[in-house]
């Protein structure tokens, strides 16, 4: 206890690291929310690049923190907290985190057949879309015609997943070079 009656919270270096990456993801989330989208729920998902990078660099636990903080804080700042958009975003994030977790521990089990950033990103994009779709169908619009959209949405997820995967590969490469070169903070 300090004189003001507050308990000092001790933070670990990992907390700072998560905060930094989450801040980056939130910034990208907000910038991206300003871009118009042709179909609701169809976005490039650049914030997922950060999640994938954190997964590859620091592991699944950190990725969960960054992704969930991104959804929570991002929605508070954009103003969609607890709206259908938020529900879609959260369900997508949870689904993609589960898929990433499965992929991550599978890669540890079988390193020679493990996934790289591109595989993670593609996996995350597909799971994100499926999670969103499940909520959209079971909660928001329970109409069988919605399934006609699924193939198109999954094709979009494939394209976006590959694009953000390539971005993630390039980004992780740079980050690792900096860390190895000793210029990273």
């Amino acid at each position: 206890m300090n004189p003001l009656g507050h308990r000092k919270i001790l933070t670990q270096p990992s907390d700072h690291r998560i905060a930094w990456w989450a801040a980056l993801a939130i910034t990208i989330h907000i910038v991206e929310s300003a871009l118009p989208s042709p179909v609701p729920g169809l976005k490039l998902g650049l914030a997922n690049v950060i999640v994938v990078a954190v997964l590859v660099l620091y592991g699944w636990r950190d990725a969960v923190w960054v992704a969930l903080l991104r959804v929570l804080v991002g929605s508070l700042l954009v103003g969609t907290f607890l709206t259908p958009t938020f529900m879609l975003s959260l369900s997508g994030a949870c689904a993609s985190l589960l898929a990433l977790g499965a992929g991550y521990y599978y890669s540890r089990l079988l390193p020679s057949w493990g996934l790289g950033a591109l595989g993670y990103s593609l996996l995350a994009a597909q799971a994100h879309m499926l999670g969103q779709f499940a909520v959209a169908y079971f909660v928001l619009i329970p109409h069988p015609a919605l399934f006609k959209l699924l193939p198109v949405l999954m094709t979009a997820a494939l394209v976006f997943g590959v694009i953000s995967g390539m971005i993630a590969v390039a980004m992780i490469d740079k980050v690792q070079k900096r860390v190895n070169g000793g210029t990273s903070r």
């Binding site: 790289g116 591109l118 595989g119 193939p151």
Partner: protein, 120 residues
């Protein structure tokens, strides 16, 4: 740069997508049997799997029907305007083609019906 698992995920996705398109965009309503009616009376059920030609005696004369690869059509009919012939092939459950002057009609039977009801 790419690891083997990446190709695995990519392959799985590329296999998943055609399946999705076939499942949700494909037409699974193809009928198995055609019901042939003359003046409201059912003549016979014709399997669409067996290629054949049928001659049906209507109120004006003969109607010639052809079955081929799951489809059926009027080849010729003893009517004036040949609407039934111009309707060409039908294959989906619930589809109907009829020659009203000759009072011959064909309806495809299927699990799923394309239309709930048809008025003339």
């Amino acid at each position: 740069m790419l690891r083997r698992g990446d190709y695995l995920v990519l392959l799985a996705t590329l296999l998943l997508l055609p399946w999705l398109y076939l499942t949700f965009w494909g037409d699974q309503r193809a009928g198995e049997y055609a019901q042939i009616l003359v003046g409201g009376e059912q003549l016979e059920l014709v399997s669409l799997r067996q290629p054949q030609t049928l001659e049906v005696e209507g109120y004006l004369g003969l109607s010639l029907l052809e079955v081929l690869e799951g489809k059926i059509r009027f080849v010729a009919s003893a009517c004036q305007n040949k609407q039934c012939v111009h309707r060409r092939w039908i294959s989906l459950g619930g589809e109907v083609v009829s020659c009203l002057p000759n009072r011959v009609s064909i309806a495809i039977l299927g699990d799923e019906q394309r239309f709930d009801a048809i008025n003339f």
